[in-house]
Amino acid sequence: MKNHSLASKVCDDFPILKREIYGFPLAYLDNAATTQKPQCVIDSLLRFYEKYNSNVSRGVYTLAEEATEIYESGRESVAKFISAQSSRNIVFTRGTTESINLVASSWAQHKLKTGDRILVTEMEHHSNLVPWQLIAQETGAELVYCPIHLKAGSNGVGLLELEELEVLITDSVKLLAVTAVSNVLGTINPIAKIVEIAHNRGVPVMVDAAQAVARMQIDVTSWDCDFLAFSGHKVYGPTGIGVLYAKKDRLDEMLPSQGGGGMVSQVGRQASTWADAPQKFEAGTPPVAEVSGLVTALEYVLEVGMPQIQKHEKELTNYTLIKFRDFADLELYGPMKITDRIGVLSFNLQNVHPHDVAQVLDEGGIAVRAGHHCTQILHKQLGVLASVRISFGIYNDVSEIDRLFSALDRAREIFLD
C-alpha cells in the first residue's frame, strides 16, 4: 500500500503497477524515459478502434465525421493545455524528436546559411542537438554551446550560465534551442527569461518541453517562445504522438517537409499548392487513436491537478536529496536547491558502473535508467561515461525511495569490499 496521499490515490489507475519483478512490486522510477498509462488512456485507445475507427478529413459519413471531430477537437485540447493562442498553432507529430526535426527541416534549413549560428546548451538531449547538427552540416552553419555551472560546491551547480548566454547571442545566431527541463540534471531553466534575452536580439527560440510537460504548467503565450515540442508518452499518454507548437508567423515561414495526402490544396501535374498550417505539416493518415489517448491523458493530468503533481514531486525530491546527503559515495549531478529542479536525479555510486547498479536495482523490482540518457555532451562535461537516473511520476512514493537506498546497499555488498 502506498503511503503517500497522491500516490495512493492514483496508483490503482495504472494497471502495470500491479506487476511484480523478481518477486517485488514494481517500483517504476524511469518516468523521464516514459510514463506509465492510466486505465482511462488505455480504454480511450480501445474505444477509438471499437467505435470510431475511420480516416479523418476524408469521408462524408458518420464514422469519418466522428473521427475527424476527435482529431480536431484534440488539437483544441492541446492548445488549451499549453495556453496556445489557437488550435491552428498545434501540429501533431510522432513525438518531441519529430517535432524538433520538423522545425529543423521545414524552417531552419531554408533560413540558415554559411556563417550563421545555432545556439544550444550543454544540457540538451540528443534530440535537440543532432537535428541542428544535420542542418548545420547542410547549410554551413555551426552550433554554439551555452555552458552550465558544474563546479561542485559552487552556487547554482547544474544551472545554465545565463551571463554567458547573453554573450553568445550575437548577430550571427539565428536560433536558440533550449530545453525547459534537463532530462539528466533535473534543472528547470528560466524559459521566459531566456526567451526575453533571445528576443531582445531578434533570435527565435525553440523549447524542448519533453521533460516539462508532465511536471509544470506550460504556457507558450507567457513564455513567448517561437516553437515548443513535447511527446504524449511522457505525460501519461500513448507513444507515437507528439506536438509541435509554433507561432503563426513561424508556421507561415515553414515549408512542408513531407508531401502526401491531407497537406495539399490543389495538385497539378508538376506542382501543387499547400493546405494551410497545421495540416500543411501533417501528410498522410494521422495518428487519430493516439490523439484520442493523448487528450485523455491531458484530461487525467488536469483532473489530478498540476499543483498537486508539483507538490508531490517536490516532496519526493526533497526526501531523496536529504537521503543523498548521508552517503559520501553517492555523487549527485544537478542542482541541490529544490526550487531549481524537478524530480529527475542522476548520480553515480563510487567505483560501481551504472549498469551494474541498475541490474541490482532491477533485481529488487526497481526500474531506473543507466547510461548517458542521450546526453553524451553533458556526460563529457560531467567527466563521466554514464550515470544512474531516477525520475518520479505521480504514482511513486517514499517507500520506493527507501527501497532504492536499500538496493544500493546491496550493490555495495556485491561490488565493493
Partner: protein, 142 residues
Amino acid sequence: MNTKTIFRDLLLDHARSPRNSGYLDHPDLQASAYNPLCGDELELALELSGEIIQDCRTQVRGCTICIASASMMSEFILKKTLSEVIISSKEFSESLRKDTENISEIMETFRPLISLKLHRSRIKCMRLAWDALEDCAEQFQT
C-alpha cells in the same frame, strides 16, 4: 546461482584484475567496439603467427560484465586460430539466446556470464569484446 555469487565469486576477480589488459606495441590486427547505450569503450589488439593468435590485449572502459567478459575471452582465444575463435564467437552468441537451454562444453568457461543472459540489456556488455574480435577476423579475411 544468485547474482551476488556470480559477481563476487566468478566475475569480480576478472573485472578487478583483467587478464591480458593493455596494449601491444606491434599488433597485427586491432579493433575497437563501442556500446552507445552506456558509452562503454573497448579496444582489442592481436598478434598473429599465421592464423594463430599469439598474443592479445584488451583495454576496456566499462562495467563489470564488459571487463570480465573481455578478460575471459582474452584467456580463451590465446593460441587458437582466428577461424576457431570465430566459431566460438557464434557459439557464445547462440548461448546468449533467450531460448537456448543447453550450452556446449566449450562454452562452460563462460557459464557465469551466460547465467546472466535474462538481463537482456547486458548482452551487449557481454558481446563487446567478441564484436571487436569478429571485426579483427573480418580485417584478416580482406
